[in-house]
């Protein structure tokens, strides 16, 4: 397997389209998504339920059964190899070794009938050809690394003997056991309480600087993104609507949806009198996706062209790009 060369992205997704066949017709969950992840980078994917963020992530690992899903087009290059051309057997070698994944609900993603230790050891013996003793030693190291006290005894316990936060630490230990090039974390703290969430984010930040793993963090919480990510991808209606560095996006959002997301959540450090500005309406129906901009019906700045034509991702300077006509070079003139 190729080692990632410096500056060469770990992951490169191009024009990915994924659909589901449902009774009403073809649900276009992911409609042409492009992005990349550089070595050691933490990329956040933000959006609401149904925006396609989890489908994108699961497609990266080819975890969505087909049917009902169908990858309509696109390319996913991971460490220089095309994921979409791999057989199930080849994928199985990749998952858990070069690509790790943490899911939202740590209880349903661990096997309740196996000890925590055996679930980490399984990974190590299968992918790294370790013998039982080596694997056990490494498993204990991993549990210590993610901050589980008395790892030597905890390793023989079952998932139900762990609390929610501790289970999520175990999940992280499993995902990182084989030193993956990419970790996909799908809402890793959504099921946890804030104080436990803070603990898990701290573990992830520390591991990030120690192991230099690239991370894709999927979340709906903008605060988490601000704290841990380098770059952000905002998704809406199955498309990337804005992308940029964390700093660019939070200080100067260029898409009205990003702006709306930031204004509609009350902030702990804001004054009470500042009104909350909700985004009116509801997300689009992806069985019949709109012809123009998907956000146009909810957008406070909508123009005539927005209904008819999708602008595509327009460059906004720096590394920032947004799928909005307002960023078109002729927008100023058109408005005047």
């Amino acid at each position: 397997m190729n080692k990632p060369i410096a500056r060469e992205p770990v992951l490169e997704v191009k024009n990915l389209k994924v659909s589901f066949h449902v009774r009403e017709g073809e649900l276009q969950a992911v409609r042409g998504v492009d992005f990349h992840v550089d070595p050691g980078e933490v990329v956040g994917i933000v959006g609401e339920s149904g925006c396609g963020k989890s489908v994108t992530a699961q497609t990266l690992m080819r975890l969505i059964p087909s049917p009902p899903s169908r990858i309509k087009s696109g390319s996913i290059r991971f460490l220089g190899e095309e994921i979409l051309l791999k057989s199930e057997k080849e994928m199985r070698k990749l998952r858990g070794s070069k690509m790790g994944m943490i899911f939202q609900d740590p209880m349903t993603s661990l096997n309740p009938t196996l000890t925590v230790g055996s679930q980490i050891i399984e990974n190590l013996t299968r992918h790294l050809n370790m013998n039982a003793a080596q694997a056990k030693k490494r498993a204990i190291e991993m549990l210590k690394l993610v901050g589980i006290p008395s790892a030597e005894t905890r390793i023989n316990q079952y998932p139900h003997e762990f609390s929610g936060g501790m289970r999520q630490r175990v999940m992280i230990a499993i995902a990182l056991a084989c030193d993956p090039a990419l970790l996909i974390a799908d809402e890793p703290t959504t099921a946890l309480d804030v104080t436990i969430q803070a603990q898990i984010l701290e573990v992830m930040k520390e591991l990030r600087s120690r192991l230099k793993t690239s991370i894709i963090l999927i979340t709906h919480n903008l605060g988490i993104v601000a704290g841990i990510c380098d770059r952000v991808i905002v998704m809406y209606g199955g498309q990337v609507v804005e992308t940029g560095t964390v700093k660019e996006l939070f200080t100067n959002p260029k898409h009205p949806y990003t702006e709306g997301l930031l204004k509609s959540v009350p902030r702990l450090d804001s004054r009470k009198e500042e009104p909350l500005i909700p985004i009116i309406g509801t997300p689009p129906d992806l069985v019949h996706p709109p012809a123009g901009c998907a956000f146009a019906p909810r957008c406070p700045y909508t123009m005539r062209i927005c209904q008819r034509l999708d602008p595509g991702l327009l460059d906004c300077g720096g590394t920032q790009a947004a799928r909005c006509w307002l960023n078109h070079e002729m927008a100023q003139e058109a408005n005047a």
């Binding site: 609401e48 339920s49 609390s163 936060g165 501790m166 309480d193 804030v194 104080t195 436990i196 969430q197 803070a198 603990q199 984010l201 701290e202 709906h220 919480n221 903008l222 605060g223 988490i224 993104v225 601000a226 704290g227 964390v246 700093k247 939070f250 709306g260 997301l261 930031l262 509609s264 959540v265 009350p266 902030r267 702990l268 450090d269 009470k272 909350l276 500005i277 909700p278 985004i279 009116i280 509801t282």
Partner: protein, 321 residues
């Protein structure tokens, strides 16, 4: 200052688990809420905040304690008097998918409350009232004949609100009304609750784990930990100068959507998990995770004391963090 509408005194709720074990979900809690006020109740899962709300509505019978509504003792009422009180006290539930009967149309879900209390005289009047309620919460009158599965989460929560408002209550327990909703929809529901409060003079107990939302909507905030009230203050004061170390940790754990603040923020990260409520620690329930804990904390439960005007905290070392 107006008279309190709600007064809760030394409320306890224990669940018997069998084999001599009891879970003290709510352990000796007292608070009051003035008319037109919103009291936020925050804490992490398992702290007993939802049990407080449910016990107030007598969805659970209390183990001991008193709940005075307009001076009348709710737990000592029965029959017609209790039924009249149920009109005044309503609830909005967390999960808009589980709290609506999937086999009733919206008209019947809302109408059930009107029928029970015999609030409308004719079918036409019933229909008119339901349509009025739907419009009040931002839905259309013609939605009345539809079933819950035809609505999105945010719309269902609006239906839940319309149902609670049908009997013209004075006090509503909002039990995590927005935590099942998407961020862009949360603001819609929060604004609706605020508007309704202004227009109808409602009083809320707003239960939630999202501290930013609680701060936004509440006049005063109470913080619970393991069945105990640990801090109670005006929302501005609580957030600006928390006294209890648990409140400090809770506040600093909330991520702020601003990369520059996040980069410099110092976090108080408390170690470990919530202890079991079946076998809680002696003395202060927070002492096992508290960075300030001393010997006195395991010996004595600190009482809830007024440290500043209107600002109560239950800690031997209040304000030390």
């Amino acid at each position: 200052m107006s008279e309190p509408l709600i007064e809760v005194n030394q409320l306890r709720k224990e669940f018997y688990l069998g084999k001599g074990r009891t879970l003290k979900a709510v352990n000796d809690i007292s608070f009051s809420i003035r008319k037109g006020e919103t009291l936020g109740l925050v804490g992490e899962s398992g702290c007993g905040k939802s049990t407080v709300g449910r016990t107030m509505l007598r969805l659970y019978e209390p183990t001991s304690g008193q709940f005075l509504f307009e001076g009348k003792d709710v737990y000592r009422s029965s029959g017609a008097r209790m039924k009249a009180m149920r009109r005044d006290i309503q609830m909005i539930f967390q999960d808009p998918y589980a709290s609506l009967n999937p086999r009733l149309t919206i008209m019947d879900s809302i109408g059930e409350a009107l029928d029970v209390h015999k609030l409308t005289k004719s079918r036409a009047e019933r229909r008119a009232r339901i349509e009025e309620l739907l419009e009040l919460v931002g839905l259309r009158a013609d939605h009345a004949n539809r079933y819950p599965h035809e609505f999105s989460g945010g719309q269902r929560q609006r239906i839940g609100i319309a149902r609670a408002l049908a009997v013209k209550p004075k006090f509503i327990v909002c039990d995590e009304p927005i935590s099942a909703l998407d961020v862009s929809i949360q603001a819609q529901v929060v604004n609706l609750l605020k508007e309704l409060q202004r227009g109808m003079g409602l009083t809320y107990l707003f239960i939630a784990h999202d501290l930013s939302v609680v701060k936004y909507i509440s006049d005063r905030v109470a913080v619970m930990y393991l069945g105990k009230l640990v801090e109670l203050a005006d929302s501005e004061n609580l957030y600006a100068s928390p006294l209890h170390p648990y409140t400090c940790a809770l506040l600093s754990a909330v991520p702020i959507p601003d990369p520059e603040i996040e980069a410099i923020k110092e976090r108080v990260i408390i170690k470990g998990d919530l202890p079991s409520a079946i076998n809680p620690p002696s003395g202060c329930p927070f002492r096992t995770r508290c960075p300030l804990a001393q010997e006195v904390c395991s010996a004595e439960m600190p009482p809830l004391v007024e440290h500043r005007p209107g600002h109560f905290a239950a800690c031997h070392f209040a304000g030390a963090m």
